[in-house]
């Protein structure tokens, strides 16, 4: 691809320091926004860019910003969601570690656009090294006059603080994050009211992902229109993909949205193919919460079209034959991996992370974990498989927050596409303890829509 918008300078020695960052064009967006633009014109640029939330939901950022209520006499807050906890996702860690000033610059521009005078970066508690890095970078920026009172003589004041979490995936949900920021248990709130109306301390609040905020910098530097020219359809710009699992070159890659999935997996410019000469069996394309797909359906849509790394293409086919871009946490499974074991592992994760408010999630996640453990350890019954689908349907859509859905989708999709493997665990329990099911028909050929539809 042409120029990387976020990671262009990531390998410049010292880019994590203010001086080197500034020498390489850093903080130009702050100068441009505060000296030559109005808050509303900054919001317009972001709208024009087509930027969508990079945390996982993909909601248009400009639109989210425009929802912010602006009542007289009430403070507004911008909170950056750096609670990165979606299994498979590690791009925010990468960005904050190596180029923290990009996030800080984005926070200043975004806070200006939203009229926030105090902003917070909520970082998951385990990322203590990153918290230290950000605190140091904030001190450098303040020292250089880019934070504090009357920034660059513009009359705009901004204080920026880092707030640690305490180890809770649920605090990546924006209202649970706000609860945590208020010093409480991370229980999501019922929406409406949305944070744009009533958020932190009941004040209008916008919560945005790290990468979303970082993207504001190139959008202001080059203009929203330029940003919108990159990408594919309604998936504009670039995305940081976190590639993990059985790949030759796992890591964080900045891609232009619309890149073919096959190229992303196999080309030397990106993941370099499957490790140890193995064959690809399955992919979870956007973090553990999105449907898992067998190799044949991740490389091509059900219509035989090459699948692209974009919101639209990955969702092609809905949940029946498609998945989602989500957080871009791209996990690759080779032919030796056990889908049943992995599904149990993910169900244990969601059960552990459920905040416990909603009965369908609190009880359903625990139930799914138990049944999956039974299947994986050779004690499952055939009826367990439909039971899992049934429980997942009873959780989906019946909870205050999307964690319930996120717990349901991996189980439902694993059974939808890999039912044979689950059944084999029931009919051949001894064998299942000794070796894995293997690649079977999961790579080739492409299934027929009627086959998949009948699996439900």
């Amino acid at each position: 691809m042409a120029r990387k918008l976020l990671l262009e300078n990531i390998n410049v020695p010292g880019i994590h320091t203010f001086d080197v960052y500034r020498q390489n064009g850093g903080y130009r967006a702050v100068e441009k926004a505060l000296k030559t633009m109005t808050p509303d014109s900054v919001v317009e640029e972001v709208k024009t860019s087509g930027l969508r939330g990079r945390g996982g939901a993909g909601f248009p950022t400009g639109m989210k910003w425009s929802f912010l209520a602006k009542p007289e006499g009430r403070e507004r807050y911008l909170v950056c969601n750096a609670d990165e906890s979606e299994p498979g996702t590690f791009k925010d860690r990468y960005l904050m570690t190596h180029i923290p000033h990009l996030l800080i610059e984005g926070m200043i521009v975004a806070s200006f656009a939203l009229g926030a005078k105090t902003s917070y970066i909520y970082v998951r508690g385990e990322m203590m090294p990153q918290i230290r890095i950000l605190e140091r970078a904030i001190a450098e920026a303040k020292n250089a006059g880019f934070l504090g009172k009357n920034i660059l003589g513009s009359g705009y004041d901004l204080e920026l603080y880092v707030q640690p979490g305490g180890g809770a995936y649920i605090c990546g949900e924006e209202t649970a994050l706000i609860e945590s920021l208020e010093g409480k248990r991370g229980n999501p709130r019922i929406k409406p009211p949305f944070p744009a109306i009533s958020g932190v301390w009941a004040c209008p609040t916008v919560v945005n992902n790290v990468e979303t905020i970082a993207a504001v910098v190139p959008i202001i530097n080059d203009g929203g229109e330029e940003y919108s020219k990159i990408g594919n359809g309604r998936s504009t710009g670039t995305k940081l993909i976190s590639a993990s699992g059985n790949l030759n070159k796992p890591g964080v890659y900045e891609i232009e949205l619309g890149l073919p999935v096959e190229e992303f997996i196999y080309s030397e410019e990106y993941c370099g193919g499957i490790a140890n000469g193995k064959r690809l069996k399955a992919v979870v394309a956007g973090g553990s919460s999105v449907p898992i797909l067998p190799a044949n359906l991740i490389l091509k849509t059900i219509n035989g079209q090459p699948r692209l790394m974009s919101y639209e293409s990955l969702s092609d086919g809905g949940f029946q034959t498609g998945s989602m871009l989500g957080s871009g946490g791209f996990i690759a499974f080779d032919e030796d991996q056990c889908i049943v074991r992995n599904t149990w592992n993910f169900s244990r994760f969601y059960h552990h992370e459920s905040c416990g408010q909603c009965s369908p999630c609190r009880e359903g996640t625990g139930w799914m974990e138990k049944v999956l453990h039974s299947l994986e350890s050779g004690h499952g019954k055939m009826s367990d498989i439909d039971l899992l689908v049934d429980v997942s349907k009873k959780i989906e859509g019946n909870t205050i927050c999307p964690l319930g859905d996120a717990a349901a989708w991996p189980v439902a999709s694993a059974i939808r596409h890999f039912r044979d493997e689950f059944e084999w665990h029931v009919t051949n329990p001894k064998e299942a303890m000794e070796h894995n099911y293997g690649l079977a028909k999961y790579a080739d050929p492409l299934p027929k829509l009627e086959e998949v539809a009948s699996q439900n």
């Binding site: 403070e75 990165e84 906890s85 979606e86 299994p87 498979g88 996702t89 590690f90 925010d92 860690r93 105090t118 998951r124 508690g125 385990e126 990322m127 203590m128 090294p129 230290r132 204080e159 603080y161 707030q163 640690p164 979490g165 305490g166 180890g167 809770a168 995936y169 945590s180 920021l181 208020e182 010093g183 409480k184 248990r185 991370g186 301390w201 976190s242 590639a243 993990s244 699992g245 059985n246 796992p250 890591g251 964080v252 979870v284 553990s288 946490g329 996990i331 499974f333 991996q337 074991r341 992995n342 592992n345 993910f346 994760f349 552990h352 992370e353 905040c355």
Partner: protein, 171 residues
């Protein structure tokens, strides 16, 4: 769950209190409860765990009820409610790490230290546990050690052995 120990009076040092006070300045007047998580992290860094006595003192400082501290300390997984080893090895146990050998690493740690998950070695120096996704999946397997959460990536049985040896030398 909350550990009921013999009641030991504790006093926070002046240094710790001044750190708490700095944190409180980050929030609007009257919203000092927002300092709770950062304060609990400092308490755990100081004492190695969060005791009921410490929680009561935190409640006093923040002018909130003790229950408001208990409910937070019991919700967030990073806070230890009983004393741990001097070094607590926390290994990621979620899907992507397991695809590349995290479970073998945990088995190796259990064998090497000689204690099960959550237990402390007889000399009081080590404990370990599996934790959920640490957002480092591309460098898996990984582990972290508090209170600064120093991070160790691309683990092998050899690198784990080296790490444990180097920690033993620090005692």
């Amino acid at each position: 769950m909350l550990s009921v120990t013999e009641h030991k009076e504790i006093e926070f040092s002046a240094d710790l209190i001044s750190k708490f006070e700095e944190i409180v300045t980050r929030y609007p007047e009257g919203k000092q409860k927002s300092a709770l998580l950062p304060v609990l992290h400092l308490v755990q860094a100081e004492y190695g765990w969060v005791s009921p006595e410490a929680m009561e003192k935190v409640a006093e400082f923040l002018q909130i009820q003790a229950i408001e501290v208990y409910e937070v300390a019991t919700f967030y997984t990073m806070f230890f409610l009983r004393p741990q080893g001097k070094f607590v090895l926390e290994v990621c146990r979620t899907g992507p790490c397991c695809l590349v050998g995290a479970e073998k690493i945990m088995t190796h740690i259990e064998k090497t230290l000689g204690v099960k998950e959550g237990e402390v070695t007889a000399d009081g120096n080590f404990s370990w546990r599996g934790v959920e996704c640490l957002a480092a999946c591309g460098m898996a397997p990984v582990l972290q050690i508090g209170p600064e959460y120093t991070f160790y990536e691309n683990l092998t049985e050899e690198s784990v052995d080296k790490l444990i040896e180097s920690l033993k030398n620090k005692i």
